[in-house]
Amino acid sequence: MLSTHFKIVDDDFRVGFRFQKAWGTSMATAFFFGEAGAGLYFVAQFFDFALGMIAGLLMVMLGKGGGHLLHLGRPSRGWRAFTKIGSSWISRGLLAISVFTVFGTLHVFDLHTGLLPQAASWLVAAVAIAACLTIMVYQGFAMSHSSSIALWSTGLMPLASLTYALLNGVVLTLVLGFHAALFADRPETVQLLRIAAVALVLYGVVTILSLLHGAKYGSEGGQESVRLLLRGAFRNWFLALVIGLGFGVSALMMAFAPEGYAVMIAAAGAELTGYYAFRVLMFRAATYDPVMSFAPHFRR
């Protein structure tokens, strides 16, 4: 009986799995700061927590913007990415970042000075939060739009982005707000955010496992990516950092550890480390389907 067993062939002139190499660490860093910053701004705006909003804005502007500029082959032409908003998620994301930067800054400024009339103030806040929400999910859409890579090509990717962004926002708010008036005035907020963090971790675990499940049964490339993450070269990183540290340790600390600044920093550090590892590994483990997968007819 004839059989075919594909391997990772990299640049060899053989049929097999090939890694995507176009998106790497700089793109993962940009995605990390995008979802962490936007998530922080989103949660902070819910509580009118200015420090969190400013930190979120800075993370998006400097971290995400810087990461993207480092990634681009021709950064000086980056403005051109505004031109295809109708079809490209990269374009939509750039528009969202620009709108968020302008309206988010205006909102924070207005929060301190009361410069704008109330109707305009609400409008500015609404536009800022809409752009912020777009940043929280568009990276997932940009990835799921790539049908070439089974690991990403799932409707769960935007959901994973949103879950992670909210989770990042909650843990960062817990850290930044610990000594701020936010928690002194409303001590019940800490408990609320800690419960929210645990719930989001649980939801995140289910989302990521569903994502892997879908990829495994989606195509041969997806199956190989999942094998790399769970049993292959990236096993230790994925299981230890993404699942163990990012979800397990942070959830346990949020649920059971006594209240304290060090605990919050440790829990947030664990969660953010796991999230960054997730972003990097999603790029590193992404493989294209072997070209022969198109025609079982030819494999006889």
Partner: protein, 204 residues
């Protein structure tokens, strides 16, 4: 207007990769960059094994995902169906590279155009002349040798193939050889499940 396409006859391909070399020469491709490759695959279990050869190339898809995701419009489709990249518009974001299910795009790293074929930082006259067409930091891919096609010639890989395993022609012309081969041998498009409608067909 013609709609250019290509047929790969797998019965004829001998895996010599003359097409690969001709393409690199015609397009002055830098070290490590290929617009076409003929892949080999070992099939079966000992002692019943065989080796097959699969030529690969940009499929110039009718519904090209690379064009859809491009944030600048740098990737475009000509009226004759050839998908090209405008190096002056491309920002090098790589979204087209990850969107191509066939892994047929390359991001031109700046050092690819400066290191030279002999890896000593010096460009040969051939490279100095040929690299003018490339823009560092942008995406590049097979062009179906559009300059040759516009001049009434066949793409370099097709003209070179010693076994006529590559056939190029007008998919819209019912009397063309490519159209006839596709119909007679039930030509298959690569990865039809991706819904990209490639203009490259495989027959065996």
């Amino acid at each position: 207007m013609a709609k250019w396409g290509m047929v790969f006859d797998l019965r004829r391909c001998i895996g010599c990769n003359a097409c690969t070399v001709a393409c690199k020469q015609e397009n002055s491709l830098p070290y490590g960059v290929f617009f076409t490759k003929t892949l080999s695959e070992e099939v079966g279990a000992y002692p019943n094994t065989t080796r097959t050869y699969i030529p690969t190339i940009c499929n110039h898809c009718e519904d090209a995902p690379c064009q859809r995701v491009c944030p600048t419009g740098a990737t475009y489709t000509r009226a004759d169906g050839i998908v090209l990249v405008d190096g002056d518009k491309c920002i090098g974001c790589g979204s087209c590279v990850v969107a191509c299910p066939y892994d047929q795009r390359t991001l031109l790293e700046p050092e690819m155009l400066t290191r030279g074929l002999f890896r000593n930082g010096e460009l040969t006259p051939f490279e100095q002349q040929g690299y003018k067409r490339f823009t560092a930091g942008t995406a590049t891919k097979c062009t179906f040798c559009h300059e040759r096609v516009d001049a009434g010639l066949q793409p370099a890989c097709v003209a070179t193939c010693p076994t006529e395993a590559r056939i190029f022609g007008d998919l819209d012309d019912p009397d063309s050889k490519v159209r006839r081969l596709i119909q007679e041998h039930r030509g298959r498009q690569p990865m039809p499940e991706k819904n990209t409608n490639p203009k490259v067909f495989y027959i065996d």
